[in-house]
Every structure is written in C-alpha cells, then in structure tokens.
C-alpha cells in the first residue's frame, strides 16, 4: 500500500491519511497539536473556541466509567481573539490541515468566531452543535433542525472555507439532523459528540461531576457512533467523519465501512498516547493490502451493499 492509497479528500481538504484529532483533546497550543501530528494524525481539530473567554466548570470535570470517560469541562477557552494567536502559531508549524472547532450562543456568534478563526489561518471550521453540558449552545442548537440550519447557513455565508458540523447522538433521528445541516450548506458531518451521561458517588449520594451531567466518550459509545454514521450515510451525500470510541484500526475500519470518509480519535490518547494515530493508519493500510483495495476511498460505506 503506497502512501497515496491512504490519502483522503475531505470537502476540499487533502489529508495524508484518514485519521484526525477529535476536538476537545489537548488542542490549546501549537506544541501539543504538533505532538499529535508527530504521532501520525492526518489533520487536527482544536478545542472549541467561542467569542468570549470561558473558565469552564469547577472540578471534578472528568470521571472514569467502565469502558469510557464522562466529562463536563464546560467549554473552557480563552476566546477567539486570544486563541487566534494559537491558531497562527499552529498554522506555522503544522503540515496538516488545521480545523478550528467553534461554538456560539447564536448564529451570529458562530459566524463571528468562524470568521476570525479563518482569518487566523483555519483550513476549515467544525461547528460544535453537540456539546451536551453547556446551556444555550452545543446540543441545544444541534438538536433542533431549524436552529441548526440557521447557524450553518449563517456561517456558510460568512466564511469561504469548508464547514463541518459535529452532531450529537442525543437525538431521536440523527440522520434527519444531518440532512438539515447539509441542506443548509454543511460540507461534512462529524458524528458523534459524547453521549449524555452521569455518575453518582454511592458513599456521599452525590453526583460526581460538578456540573452533575456530562458526556460519555470512549469504547462504551462506539457501537452507538457506528450506528449513527450508518444512518447518516443512508441519508446524505456529504462526507462523514466518524468519531466515538475509536481505539484501534479495527474500530476505524468499522466506521469507514459504515460510511465515514475519515475518523477522529480522542479518548484513546489517554491510553495509547499520540502514537495511536500511527498504529491505526498502519492497521488500515495492512487491511487494504490484504483485501486488495488500492485506496482507502474504496471501502467507505461498503457495509451498505447488503
């Protein structure tokens, strides 16, 4: 398998391989993003950034669960004006596409942040319309097809770079939401963000997270995410970026066969470190060779044949 066989075209972005860093993981600084690229990632997505600085929630912000993690960070970020410096710094040292994750409390805010991100050098923006633990943004936007369409078309009308939309699994019909995003102009769909969850300490009878509710990530949510990708692939033509519990090359392939053109990895970095990207890419490459495929593009959505 030559390196070209792993190359992916994603809504106009060219990725040397289909693996990407998921938003929310590291992703503050150029140095940490670079360590992820050195680990083999084909693209990186920053932490979500908004118009104004946000401190996030008090600790505990993370709880370990069986086969996953529950987090409620609360979107801590320095605000786009400050973060623009980090985007410029990252752009200068990274040799892969840099996607800036954006959130807002209105369509105008999403558009304003996206514009500044693109001005600072973002190759694309990913709209966080799926954070499950901050009120009046994130999933509260992504769960409503009408409001979502308004946000997406506002951003599309403001920036001339690809716009990805990251969806929440905490909806009745994720494919319907994806369809509404694509009709409004989304260039790609990222599925999925975390699954709304919580943990309670039995000794004190108290919820552990300071925000009480958080989002579950990690291997526990992989089957849910694969199903979401499969559902979305049936309904929309835009490329899908699969995300949710990917830890191994086998997991990555499952998402691609369900219909993902690329995949994102986050929580697995806690266990395997940034080198997880290289091991996933190697595994995909060996699989393609063994099965006689010339390009990774040939396997996208193969599970829909039957």
């Amino acid at each position: 398998m030559g390196n070209e066989g792993l190359r992916v075209d994603l809504a106009g972005l060219s990725l040397k391989n289909p693996t990407m860093l998921a938003s929310g993981i590291l992703g503050y600084s150029a140095e940490t993003l670079k360590s992820i690229v050195d680990g083999g990632a084909g693209a990186v997505v920053t932490k979500s950034v908004g118009l104004k600085p946000r401190s996030g929630y008090a600790n505990p912000t993370v709880v370990q669960a069986s086969c996953g993690l529950i987090n409620a960070m609360g979107l801590p970020n320095p605000g786009i004006d400050e973060f623009a410096k980090d985007i410029r710094g990252a752009k200068a040292v990274l040799k892969v596409p840099l996607i800036v994750s954006v959130y807002g409390f209105s369509a105008e805010e999403y558009a304003a942040v996206a514009k500044k991100a693109v001005l600072a050098g973002a190759d694309a923006v990913e709209l966080n319309v799926s954070c499950p633990h901050v009120k009046e943004t994130g999933a509260e936007i992504g769960q409503n097809p009408k409001i979502l369409a308004e946000v997406v078309s506002k951003v599309k009308g403001t920036v001339d770079k690809p716009v990805f939309v990251k969806l929440s699994p905490n909806v009745v019909d994720v494919a319907e939401i994806a369809e509404s995003a694509v009709l409004a102009g989304a260039d790609a769909i990222t599925a999925i963000n975390t699954v709304k969850a919580m943990a309670i300490d039995i000794e004190t009878a108290k919820p552990i997270l300071s925000n009480k509710r958080g989002g579950l990530s990690g291997p526990a949510i992989k089957p849910i995410a694969v199903r979401c990708v499969y559902d979305i692939y049936e309904r929309v033509k835009a490329p899908i970026i699969g995300c949710g519990g990917i830890t191994s090359w086998q997991d990555a392939l499952e998402f691609m066969l369900a219909g993902a053109s690329a995949i994102q990895i986050g929580t697995a970095i806690a266990l395997k470190g940034p080198r997880v990207f290289r091991s996933v890419v190697r595994g995909i490459s060996a699989y393609l060779k063994r099965k006689g495929f010339r390009s990774v593009k040939e396997i996208v959505g193969l599970a829909h044949r039957c």
Binding site: L26, G56, N59, P60, E82, F83, D201, A270
Partner: protein, 257 residues
Amino acid sequence: MEAVSPTVKAFTFKDKRCAKAKPGQFLMLWIPGVDEIPLSILDVDRERATVSVAVKRVGDATSALHNMKAGDHIGVRGPFGNTFTLKKGKVLLVGGGVGIAPLTFLARELATKTAPKIFVVLGAKTREELIFLDRLKKLCGEENVLAATEDGSYGVKALASTLAESVMAREKFDAIYTCGPEPMTRAVLDCAEKFGVYAEASLERLMRCAIGLCGSCVLGCYRVCRDGPIFNIDQLKTVKSEFGVWKRDFDGKRIPV
C-alpha cells in the same frame, strides 16, 4: 489527620492503588460538593494500604478539606504521573513551602533503595512553615539539612534557591531534586545548568482530567499530568520561555507564574 504547621495538615487515608505510588506521583482528591484538586503524595504505607498528602490551606477546596473530620468521605483518583528517578552517589534536595512534602517521600525511598548521601535545603517564609524538618534530619543526618527562611526566624535569612546555589558552589552533586514555588524551581534548575549537574523538578499546573487528555496543564509540548509532573533538566531546557514564566489559567489564557 495531623497538623504539620499552622497552615499545613497531613491527611492519611486508605486507597489500595495510591498506596503503591512512587515518589513524585500525585493523586486527585475530591471533596464532595466542593472541588477536586491535585496533590503530591507525601508518603505511602504499602502494608496498611494507606497514602498521605500534605495540604496547605489556600482556597475553598483546601479549607473545606482542613475542616473535615476523620471518617468523612472523600474521593480519590490515582496515582498519576511519572516519578523521580533514584540516583546514587551524592544528591541534593531543594524544597520550598509545601513542596517539601513529596521530597520527604523521595528522601525515604532514596535512603532505602539507592542510598546516596543526601543533602537537603529547605525554604519557607517562617520557621513554623518549615515542614518535615525533623523527619528529614532523621533520614538524612542533622548536619546535612540546611534551612532558609524569608524572615530569618530559622536558618539563614534567604531564599531557598540562594542557599542551594551556595551549597552547589562548594559541593559536587550527582543529582538535584526540587519541588516548590516555580520561581524557586526555575532558579534551582538554572543553577544546576550553570554547575553542569543533572536535575529534576516537580511542576504544577492547572489539572482537570489528570490523564493527559484535556490540555489544561500543558507546558510546551508536555502534559504535566502525564509526561510529568517530574521533568529533567534536558526537558526543561526546551521550555525556558515558559517554565517559571507563565502558565494557563482556567480559560486557557496565559498568566504569569
């Protein structure tokens, strides 16, 4: 629970995992309904499966902890992070304030494992805040433990880093270990570089996940919770514009150390 100084208390609790911790590692301690904070490990008792931490009263979480009674419930995650490496020969420990705590654990491990000759320089604002002085004298020999206080109430009236520099100028060490306020650890590392001595420092940053994911604690390309909290002199040379200069606040903004 034991008062160590007017502002520092040591807490001991049962936790099988943390009881296996090594010097330099930390744990995340949850005070239900208040906060979860990172704490360096002060000591472990593997047989009794207990772990101890030294906590200085500085904010809401530490005050709440100081007000707790024996038998109250807390949550513990850990141990996290890497460890000090145990060297042989002749070593110097430089601790400031509550940063002395993890160095006492290190001193005990060094004494029982690689058995180097251990010199100690301690620093604090006042005599009362020079914690674990007697414990370290017993472990390392009274004559090898020097102290500096900012008000001159014990030892020399100086900063610990200044006293450490004078010790480094007259003795040749195989390794220096330091933990305390970052201006101090930075100064100690600069001295170590000047004298060409291997050194390790224990660093602190805002911690949230403690498992290397959230990025709250990054220092250059390092995640303090996962790649640290112990960093050696060669690693710290690569982050000179940041180490001892600035850190990230809750919103990720850069603020002075």
